[in-house]
Subunit: 313 residues, 2 copies
């Protein structure tokens, strides 16, 4: 369930003209941009982009980049890109940051095999290098093996499960958490090749035998980037809405806000399941997500996020 | 340049009926099967398969499997499958053999990124497991890393080259051949992520610095399955027609023939570049490939291979 509110009857030409009007004159009319783009779905946004190019011989994305700034610009930029292209950008940003690979694990573990392939294609088109090539150059050891394994996966999506395999592989994962020699490589193999249904059976078996969930165990023992990435991959696989709720919660709580994480989740999920994530957030925190976001952000950035969250104007 | 001779004006219905006639009665008319299927391109074969199913409510592939036998059956079976599906079968056969992974390295290093993806899709459809999943379960260590890395690759196919990178990575490969600790993993990264153009630049640089080609060096020093797979991947990347000539030469020479390798190369390349491979073979051995194949094979199998090699009836 999406939070985005988009009208059925929009005219790409009129939208393009209204946007151009918003760019003109003394300052930019940010509110007009939010009202238009914050209420258009992915197909409509692509139509607007095409119409804008046809009418004004200018790329709307470049124009937005030059007219806007700060977190607002970043959010609008991510929002106007096609999802696969946006994920390619997010993965590249994660690599350049040099320490935060969550976005890469999310893309690999939440998307369907075909969606993941689309991101790899978009990455190649944009950067003239493959996504796995850049990951492999930026990382090493087991972390590299895991990240490359995850992004290059093309998993079976059927329902068939091998129960015996789930049992034996739950034990391998248990050993990997305890950093038993050789088991990390096996954990990479399991996480990056088994189907989601098979993995969930494995995690269920783990809970049954060890009396605690594998993520809880990992959370207690995770000491390095490899184990943290493993943790993220498992959470994204088992229940990605709960995972995203946690990302939002961490981004909002404490002193300072993690705008990058906030933008990433809201922009990526607004058209998919942000409503569910928002409900999970409310259940967990007893505060509506919109209120929490409103409290931590300001100005056009705040208005844009709230619009994507489905706030009526 | 293909060796296959296929007419433009064929009727799938007539072909299907002629095949059914060949199956009927006391024995199978193998020659009729060769004359028809050995002269139809991939699109025509798929049309015949569809027509056969429509007219006789029976799968032509299954029928062929039940009517034919031995190397002839294997060759016809591989020939009638769509290329991606055939490669999926070849990869699976290689995995089950448990020691010969050439077919997997060939598929990963010779096919285009999109063709390789098609094989992975076909593998999933056929076996309900991913290709990399099965490879990872059958292998271990650096060999596993290399094979999984190769089949999951989705490389940049443009012409841009980074010369500095080619230099530094040529040295890493040199260390990997000498089995210097940690360098094998880097060799895997390079071979499985860099574009073919970039890899060729790296191999060229290697030859310049070390006065010998990297494949020659590997051939002298290759001691384990990992290094042999590395060797195959490099040969397939630099010049796959020369590589296939060598496979054919090895399959034919000495006592006994390696029918599996012979069939694999002829069936896989007959519609693509078998004519070039055949020319390379003649230059290298001063014997026409058809003569060599004719000498080493017999019966229907021989007639079928020679038909695919472009022999006029």
């Amino acid at each position: 369930m999406a939070t985005l509110i988009a009208p059925c009857n929009h005219s790409p030409q009129e939208d393009a003209e209204a946007l151009q009007k918003a760019f003109k004159g003394w300052g930019t009319d940010e509110n007009a941009i939010i009202v238009i783009l914050g209420h258009r779905n992915i197909y409509q946004r692509q139509q607007i982009r095409t119409a804008y190019e046809e009418i004004f011989q200018e790329d709307l994305v470049k124009k937005l980049e030059s007219e806007l700034k700060g977190d607002f610009e970043k959010a609008v930029y991510r929002w106007i890109l096609e999802p696969a292209d946006r994920d390619a950008v997010l993965a590249n940003v994660a690599l350049k940051s040099g320490r935060n690979y969550y976005a890469i694990v999310e893309i690999s573990s939440v998307l369907s095999p075909e969606e993941l392939l689309a991101v790899r294609r978009a990455y190649l088109d944009r950067y003239k290098r493959s996504l796995e090539e850049d990951i492999a150059s930026h990382t090493s050891g087991h972390l590299r093996q895991l990240l490359v394994g995850l992004v290059t996966s093309y998993r079976y999506t059927g329902d068939e499960i091998n129960a015996k395999l789930a049992q034996s592989e739950a034990e391998i994962l248990h050993e990997a958490i305890k950093e038993k020699k050789g088991s990390q490589e096996e954990a990479v193999r399991i996480l990056s090749t088994r189907s989601k249904t098979q993995l969930i059976a494995t995690f269920n078996y783990y809970r049954e035998i060890h009396g605690t969930s594998i993520t809880k165990k990992l959370l207690d023992e995770a000491s390095d980037d490899f184990q943290k990435a493993l943790y993220t991959a498992i959470r994204c696989t088992t229940n990605h809405t709960k995972y995203y709720e946690k990302v939002l919660r961490d981004a909002i709580k404490g002193v300072g806000t993690d705008e990058d994480a906030l933008t990433r989740v809201i922009v990526s999920r607004a058209e998919i399941d942000l409503k569910i994530i928002s409900e999970v957030y409310y259940k967990r925190n007893s505060v509506p997500l919109e209120h929490a976001v409103a409290k931590e952000t300001s100005g056009d950035y705040k208005n844009f996020l709230l619009t994507l969250l489905g706030k009526d104007d």
